[in-house]
């Protein structure tokens, strides 16, 4: 018995080790050095201070000067100026954050240029931040006349921001504005920036602007079109199509454009197909995560747990509760650790609910699978209503900050972190279940019970205990699935219903003989779904999938991996 527990402990810790290191490596911002130091800090500060001047002429000159300063941080200050969030206080320009609970009557201050918080002159240890009444601050707002210049300056200054992501965005935005005035700034970025992606996008933007600028020399435009084709730029596609439709377009330019368009389309086609496959994998892994618990319970006891979707929902609401307990909220107070705790807590909460269900209801219905189906549906109905009465109809779970965004594997092929995380979670869960079933004593007892309940009982297996364990474990897996689903979908009381029928289909297609059945069927149905969806519509895609499943069970009535032994005849 002890060695069994030891193995179980090893499994659990393996689970923990696999899950715990935050995938920070993936998330660390890539190479990051900016262009600063070209202008004197003090000088910038002095010019910025001129925004508080009462003379409009002085302010306009200051904005002009700041726009050319190439200091990224000035952009933030100017953005605050545009939004009226810049304040003048004791000879300084500051931005302010409301003190919690004061109803924004009292504020703490940050230096507008550096973003450093401003401390009290004689700092007390308790709360060193300086708190100022709102009435003491003088708000500065860009006048209607200044606003275009400020907007322009903010756009250009974003090219020099410290964060490469901001620079990347800025570079793209300037290219989409269809204003040839920005070519010079973009070319400078091409020459000076250190981040490859930013340089690439800057070049793309330059080419875009050159292509649409009808005043430009024809050769320059042809060159731009050719370059865009070689870049396989997705953004150029609609632009080039516009040009081709326009009758005034020069014939030689037209020819280059057609070539480029063909290049772009062939590349983007490949990217699109890869995208379908990825989203298919992602959907498939969600389905596997759901169907895993379902299949284990069904394989073990012949019970279809109709409340499985609701157990998943409970997992999602547990995640919400844990989030509230940790005080995690999205941009203001991220406490990312909550998610790991939530995964564990959801597993155990739903496992407890599952155990309760098994002890009170399911165990009285062995050998009557259809009635279990009805009873568990009744339980699901009540669970939905309890949650609806307690929480109302919609609540929000915020992902941890490190799951926001995505990685661009290669040009125009983005993989969102949350989807990647769910795929990873599924892999870990499947591996865990596999190891548990095939390499522990507990798994041996479970498999014995599945294959022949009576003989196993005769040989001393406590089959009732095994059943309880299986049901609770399957429910726990549903909890983990629910926790994972908070990353990609809304949390509502009836969220379980959206996935449950699909995961039933996975179980039916995969069969319950092996875990591999669930994995194959889940991935297969997921990818098939995502490939059919764009070809037909979402709904016809679903109908086709169903037809496919029905056709499939014509010659494999018990699924891909039919169960062995006597269960096969049930």
């Amino acid at each position: 018995m002890r060695s069994e527990f030891a193995r179980f402990a090893v499994l659990i810790s393996l689970f923990g080790v696999l899950m715990c290191p935050k995938p920070m490596g993936l998330l660390a911002a890539t190479g990051d050095d900016t262009l600063h130091g070209s202008v004197d800090e003090a000088l910038v500060g002095a010019e910025l201070l001129k925004l508080a001047d009462s003379d409009g002429e002085v302010r306009r000159d200051a904005i002009q000067w700041l726009a050319n300063s190439k200091v990224g941080r000035v952009g933030d200050a100017l953005e605050a100026y545009r939004l009226g969030k810049l304040y003048f206080w004791q000879g300084k320009l500051v931005t302010a954050t409301p003190v919690e609970g004061s109803g924004s009557k009292y504020l703490t201050l940050q230096d507008a240029l550096t973003g450093q918080p401003i401390y009290q002159a004689e700092a007390t240890l308790l709360d060193p931040l300086l708190v100022v009444a709102k009435a003491d601050l003088k708000s500065l707002v860009a006048s209607r006349k200044e606003r275009p210049a400020v907007v322009d300056a903010v756009r250009v200054l974003a090219l020099y921001a410290e964060d490469p992501a901001v620079r990347l965005n800025a570079v793209k935005k300037l290219g989409d504005l269809r204003n040839a005035d920005y070519i010079d700034e973009l070319e400078e970025v091409c020459n000076q920036d250190s981040n490859d992606q930013v340089i690439f996008r800057a070049k793309e933007s330059v080419a875009l602007l050159q292509l649409i600028d009808t005043k430009k020399d024809l050769t320059v435009r042809q060159h731009a079109a050719k370059e865009l084709g070689e870049m396989a730029s997705a953004r150029a596609g609609p632009l080039i199509e516009d040009l081709l439709e326009n009758e005034n377009t020069d014939e030689s330019l037209r020819k280059v454009c057609q070539q480029s368009l063909a290049q772009i389309e062939s590349y983007q086609g490949v990217v699109r197909i890869l995208g379908y496959i990825f989203s298919g994998l992602s959907l498939g892994s969600v389905l596997i995560l759901m169907a895993l618990g379902l299949a284990i319970v069904f394989g073990q006891m012949g019970v279809i747990n109709m409340a499985h979707g609701e157990l998943m929902m409970i997992g999602a609401y547990t995640t919400y509760e844990v989030q509230q307990a940790f005080g995690h909220s999205m941009p203001d107070n991220p406490v990312n650790e909550f998610f790991w705790v939530a995964l564990v807590v959801s597993f155990f909460t739903t496992a407890c609910v599952g155990l309760l269900m098994e002890k009170l209801i399911v165990r009285h219905l062995y050998g009557r699978p259809l009635e279990t189906l009805l009873a568990t549906w009744g339980v699901g109905l009540m669970l939905i209503q309890i949650v609806r009465i307690r929480y109302g109809d919609n609540i929000g779970v915020n992902s941890p900050t490190w799951l926001v965004g995505g990685v661009e594997v290669f040009q125009d092929f983005h993989l969102p972190y949350n989807r990647l995380f769910i795929i990873g979670l599924t892999v870990v869960c499947v591996a865990f279940v596999y190891l548990l079933l095939n390499h522990t004593k507990r798994g041996l007892l479970l498999r014995a019970t599945v294959q022949n309940r009576e003989i196993a009982a005769t040989l001393g297996v406590n089959t009732q205990y095994e059943d309880g364990f299986t049901f609770a474990f399957g429910a726990g897996l549903a909890g983990i699935a629910g926790c994972g689903l908070t990353l990609i979908g809304g949390v509502t009381p009836d969220m379980g219903q959206n996935y449950i029928v699909d995961s039933f289909l996975v179980v039916v297609t995969g069969g319950v003989g092996e875990i591999a059945g669930v994995v194959c069927a889940g991935l297969g149905l997921g990818v098939l779904n995502k490939i059919l969806e764009p070809m037909f519509s979402t709904i016809w895609g679903k109908v086709l999938i169903l037809a496919f499943v029905v056709a499939f069970i014509q010659y494999r009535p018990a699924g891909l991996f039919p169960p062995k032994g006597r269960l096969a005849d049930v």
């Binding site: 050998g367 699978p369 009873a375 009540m382 009465i389 039933f504 709904i539 016809w540 169903l546 049930v570």
Partner: protein, 385 residues
């Protein structure tokens, strides 16, 4: 003296047992009488009429589940097919007059408002047969039966049974619901079929028409009940029960269970379609919500509460659960305690659990115990798989 009372009681119990169907029909007929006497309103009669239409669906499920042992979760789909057939007829003859398309066909009002291109609007071909009442009734019975036999052919031939069958039919219902919700299908999308006005020339909001509909529904229910009873008592019915109790053995005995299953599945779909056709005019609207997965499972509750494997149980269960629903989904106050409509799912959920755990044969067994005076009690139906 006790002896005498006892004997009277026995007599009453015996009479109740023997004449139960007759008594039920008498109750059904007495409702219009109550209405004519002014004791109940026409709305109550209408509500009961709807529940009788639902009882048809319950009968159809009982045939498939109670007697043949196949838990079917697409009964609401067949119900809705019948309902849509009748709804399309009613939509043709309802709503404001005068919307005529190029081909000279009057576009139903509820369909017309969904067209974005008003000028080029044409009535879709599949709406046209439903302009005529006889065609509507024929199609309303035929379409569900056809769909059921197609599903049955593929599913039963590959020997899909038990839980797998339930899951598949559930998926069929879900897919059908999604399709009927689509606006592109020209089936009025999630709005459903509305603006009903008259049925065979009789205005639907007229009290006499509603009373007539109740009587027609009651007659249909009696007729279908009788038909089901004939099926059950015949040799065919014995094969169905054999399928439920041991299909493998039946196959080894030389039968082809899938043919029998297909037959009973199609018949039950037809009955459910009839229920839908009678439900639509009494409800005054027919939307895709009537074919949700949830509705299918509700039918299962009615039958389970009433007692599967007994025709009377299915009808009684439907009426009981629906009347309970009707009562408990409004607010009540009792001795300072407030009952809210929100609590209804708890009642429904516990009904599921209690019936399954403690009373697998529903209230039919209670009725039997109360009324059956003969010493030998009927053989209990075996636990269905």
């Amino acid at each position: 003296m006790f002896d005498k009372a006892d004997r009277i009681l026995t007599l009453v119990r015996g009479a109740l047992h023997k004449y139960a169907p007759g008594i039920a029909v008498a109750c059904g007929i007495s409702i219009p009488c109550f209405y004519l006497a002014g004791w109940i309103t026409i709305d109550t009669v209408n509500m009961l009429g709807r529940y009788l239409a639902l009882a048809l669906v319950a009968l159809s499920l009982d045939l498939v589940w109670g007697y043949t042992g196949m838990l079917c979760l697409c009964q609401s789909f067949f119900f809705a097919l019948g309902g849509y057939a009748m709804g399309m007829y009613l939509a043709h003859h309802g709503g404001p007059e005068g919307i005529i398309d190029h081909a000279g066909w009057k576009i139903p009002a509820c369909l017309y408002i969904l067209f974005s291109d008003v000028e080029g609007a044409l009535t879709p071909w599949f709406w046209k047969p439903f302009y005529f009442l006889p065609a509507t009734i024929a199609l309303g019975l035929f379409i569900p039966a056809f769909v059921a036999s197609v599903i049955g052919f593929f599913v039963f031939r590959s020997r899909v049974r038990g839980v797998f069958f339930a899951v598949l039919t559930q998926a069929v219902t879900l897919a059908a619901w999604l399709v009927f919700c689509m606006n592109d299908m020209k089936l009025c999308g999630t709005n459903g079929l509305t603006r009903f006005d008259r049925l065979a020339g009789f205005p639907l909001n007229d009290e006499k028409t509603r009373l007539g509909l109740y009587i027609i529904t009651l007659a249909a229910l009696v007729l279908v009940y009788w038909l089901c009873w004939l099926i059950i008592k015949s040799r065919l019915g014995r094969v169905l029960v054999a399928i439920r109790d041991n299909e493998t053995r039946l196959r080894f005995a030389g039968y082809k269970p899938y043919l029998f299953k297909m037959f009973v599945f199609s018949v039950s779909a037809m009955i459910a379609g009839l229920g839908g056709m009678l439900y639509a005019p009494q409800m005054g609207i027919f939307t895709p919500t009537n074919m949700e997965v949830r509705e299918s499972i509700l039918v299962v509750v009615w039958v389970a509460v009433g007692g599967r494997g007994t025709l009377g149980g299915a009808v009684a269960g439907t009426l009981l659960v629906n009347l309970l629903y009707n009562y408990l989904t409004s607010q009540h106050e009792f001795m300072g305690l407030v009952w809210k409509p929100d609590y209804w799912p708890f009642v429904l959920g516990s009904l599921f659990i209690i019936v399954v755990l403690f009373c697998p044969d529903g209230i039919a067994t209670i009725w039997k115990r109360l009324t059956d005076v003969s010493k030998k009690s009927a053989p209990q139906s075996e636990g269905t798989r």
